[in-house]
Subunit: 277 residues, 2 copies
Amino acid sequence: MMELRGKAVADALKEKIKKFLDKMDEKERPQLAVVRVGERSDDLAYERMVMKNCAALGLPVRVEAMNEQVTTDEILELIDALNGDDAVRGILVFRPLPVGIDEQAVIEAVSVEKDVDCMNPQNLQYVMVSDERAIPPCTPEAVMRILSYYGFSLEGKNVVIVNRSGVIGRPLSIMMLEQNATVTVCHSRTKNLARITSQADIVVVGVGRPRFFGAEYFNENSIVIDIGINFDERGACGDVDYDAVAPAVRAITPVPGGVGTVTSTVLLSHVLPEAFL
Amino acid sequence: MMELRGKAVADALKEKIKKFLDKMDEKERPQLAVVRVGERSDDLAYERMVMKNCAALGLPVRVEAMNEQVTTDEILELIDALNGDDAVRGILVFRPLPVGIDEQAVIEAVSVEKDVDCMNPQNLQYVMVSDERAIPPCTPEAVMRILSYYGFSLEGKNVVIVNRSGVIGRPLSIMMLEQNATVTVCHSRTKNLARITSQADIVVVGVGRPRFFGAEYFNENSIVIDIGINFDERGACGDVDYDAVAPAVRAITPVPGGVGTVTSTVLLSHVLPEAFL
């Protein structure tokens, strides 16, 4: 069994980003703007992580902190200024925004070209019709990068995705179809799920049920990508019963240490110009 | 074997449209505007068919015929006027437009709310993210209407769609997922196609190869929807080898007389307000 660790994938991408930025004068480097409203502890923790990752990469980051009493209009003004600022090439808004703020208006205001976290619905729509202007959502892109990094081509492969959400399963299915996979999207109403998943070459699961998928859902050649992040009495775990499944399949992402490890680096890579990819 | 004739489906929909319009004063009825540039014989034939169908339904139609020497800007001006005309509730532009016209600019100019033929990319994007403002493309909607008319629910069903195009396979897969089908999208690079299709409850094929799908692609419970329209030495035919397959499956659409028979009525139904559906 091959463990598809996210760290190696993230490290390779970081290396590439670093090399790209190293060639540029610091003043010319694309800038990430982080918009934080209030002082929620998880926002602050996320911000520290983003700052640390950006510093390690040499990616300039600017934090726009606003106090909790701010109005929707004031946030929109800030977004507008960031949209118009040529130095800023990525805008990340921490969510949820405080109660009383029109969050939808805020995320739709972020210019599609700077929407590094794929929050603007227009961006998702671009993904769904394979428009080249699309910035893909980070989790599906992380899945694609893991498969590619470990040398698993999608060409002619049968893929089953157990998730039909608009931000994960659907865009991922389109991205995989583009690479000539045959893609089946399953969900909670699917009948005989184990029969379907166990016939696939690659299975991507994201259902939010801790250790739900046992060995009967796979075969000895399965490549298993687990995008679930759950917590149970034994700690953090994915949707796959890792201990039971890992010995019985060809390859599997661990949780933690799998897909989730790659997404934050994918997000930062979106600040770079398209030519980087 | 049950033959899923399109005529019954189209007739039922026509009846519904007619009833809806009958209740309205003629001046208040929603109007369809047809935009034709030049005098191509197939445009003229299509126009006659649309006029005849509209007359039978009591749906007012206005033909805006422009001569072939018209410029893109002049067409855009007309579209703009039709977009702003509250009486006009649907705009149908005959394509292809003459060489030299920026067809993309024209179709993107049609207001999404009046885009009855789902030409504007924004409309397809809405379909792909299940936005309620979407007007679905006519062929996928015709497939959905045929299944519904003949009493085949999609709930929990395994569906295989052999077509991954942006106007047919992809939107249809999303529309079917919305109704709780488990959906597999196949294409020319799919391996073991017959093994995959023969396990499904419902198979939709659209590959443009006359009589390509023989009985080995189906099982005795298959519901087969053929959206292919081809011509070979024996005349018009679908992608399914009808004579070989029909006796061996549960239900099948004929070609001609199947999906294609429903699409033109679906298009006209899009002129009516959403509340009609």
